[in-house]
Symmetry: C2
Subunit: 375 residues, 2 copies
Amino acid sequence: MVGAFSASRYCWGMSDDFFAVIPAGGSGTRLWPLSRSGEPKFLLDLLGTGRSLLVETIDRLAPFAPVDRVLVVTGGAHENAVRSQVPSLPMANVLVEPSAKNSAAAVGLAAYVLNQTNPDAVVGFFAADHVVAEEEAFHSVLKTAIDSARSGLMVTIGIAPTEPSSAFGYIKKSDSYDGDAAVHHVGEFVEKPSYLDAQRFLSSGEYLWNAGIFVGSVSSIVAAFEEFSPELAGPLSAIAQHISEGSDISALWDTLPSIAFDYAVAEPAARAGKFLVVPGSFGWRDIGDFASLASAQQGPGSSDVVVVGDSAKVHPHDSTGIVVGSSGRIVTLLGVSDIVVVDTPDALLVTTKEHAQDVKQIVEHMKAQGLEDLL
Amino acid sequence: MVGAFSASRYCWGMSDDFFAVIPAGGSGTRLWPLSRSGEPKFLLDLLGTGRSLLVETIDRLAPFAPVDRVLVVTGGAHENAVRSQVPSLPMANVLVEPSAKNSAAAVGLAAYVLNQTNPDAVVGFFAADHVVAEEEAFHSVLKTAIDSARSGLMVTIGIAPTEPSSAFGYIKKSDSYDGDAAVHHVGEFVEKPSYLDAQRFLSSGEYLWNAGIFVGSVSSIVAAFEEFSPELAGPLSAIAQHISEGSDISALWDTLPSIAFDYAVAEPAARAGKFLVVPGSFGWRDIGDFASLASAQQGPGSSDVVVVGDSAKVHPHDSTGIVVGSSGRIVTLLGVSDIVVVDTPDALLVTTKEHAQDVKQIVEHMKAQGLEDLL
């Protein structure tokens, strides 16, 4: 697989000791009925590029980590789909969680597995379902983060905010690190703020979006688990040992607390001065609902109706919004504004961009009604 | 077939000389994609009663005319569907128009065919796709009209208007006929008015909706064609002769002018004092678009979302409007107002009640794009 890359793809200083870990979980219920529990967001070709978000993510990282140095952490329900979408991924590079245990367990699983064989390597963690429009800018920022991680500190990449979003957590920048204007100490990790606080964060210029991207040496991450989250560190170490021996990890996995990595490790590490942040701007998006899918797809000068799917099948008249079509049928819109139409073979959703976030509640409602087979 | 009706069904004074003619044409393009050229409005179970509008119309007339005295005038494209929906209809009772020639030709065809065998009979003309909510009231008005038609004048049934609609033609009442308060001379037939004129008509109390329902002796109708529309009368007489001989009528049919019955016969007959009108109120509706379908289906105290089809498949949340579902899929609405969703196996329409009339333009647009197979 490595041979498939041309020399120019290695211009970012790829070295043999960088691994990319892709936690691939979450169902994306706000994208129902496109996203289903059996086919979550990261497995979907959400942008109509012919590649799923997972494959886009792996391809984007190829100049730093070819597939034999990519680990995907996912649930048993999605293992086959992941292997089928990325057939070049080596067998051992899919780490299957026996159950969903939140982000600390997923990060720790990969870190402890790598610690068995590559304790001196640098590893980066990248969500499976994010979009990056400007790949070169991303590569440049990632190189800075990797270089900084060789200090032994952990390094997050913070996204320069473009709007006062209350949908993301924030990272407050502190002093520059070692005189480098491109790297800062993390002041603090901040949970999703109110809209007013988000406005304040944006105008201050001191806050960045927390995209969950971070880099560190394997040993520094393992050390941070030992120091700040011993209740995870113990079982994780045993789990990695079991995996290397080919033993079943289910019983040990069940003992892990379900806790977010930020809460368990990153926040206390930042307070201890062990987390750096590299600010970046590379057209990053987390497509969380159909409104953000519409704006991700809406190029300048494009039509008033964004189509994800076969645009020849969609006939808009005096309408604005987004049509996501996967049923193959003709979709005709007439005089509807900011409409969201998601047309799948067994379920149809009609809503508006304004209600995009509320789709999650529909899914909960349907679950309560026993309609799981449609979710 | 006559034996199938109980004696009580004949309480309206059914006699052996009343025939019902049902011109079944028109495609109902404002009801696309529910209504198609191959399956127009009159063949659809638009009200979810389990019966098409055509079958409802025939059943409604049964106390006056059993199926052996019902004639359906339709196009060759719909002959098989008509016979299949009304299997008891005798073979000869479907009159097939070689091409669509407007209402004068359809009315005249039936009148001249009946004139061959039943010149003294009384015949009534009833659209195939109208809705009557109050059947007993309709029967009472129809009996008055039939009784009045024995005078030798033609008699239309005018609908007491309930709103200032500009979607219908109007009939202006004139003096009472023969001292009967329930029957008037027709003052004039008025084409579809402006909204302002419709308001004036409504408040005057002198105008009725023209529902295209009329009754007359066969001989009086034939005489009216001879007097007011000789260019139709000649070919129609020859066509009826050909049909009785089993000869092909296509060549003769092609010579008929395409003209509305009101314009060719009813208006000049009214000016000559030969048309009476019986006002009626019987929950009459012409379901011309999805907005009128919604109000026809919206009972008092019913849900905010009208469902035509399997209501268990429709999940509305904070929404109002109408869902017409025939694809079997789940339809979920979230936060949409006055929405119109028409979900068929090969085409989906999303619009609002406000734009219900404009659906016709979509169909024309699709025709121009060569998408006839969907129309």
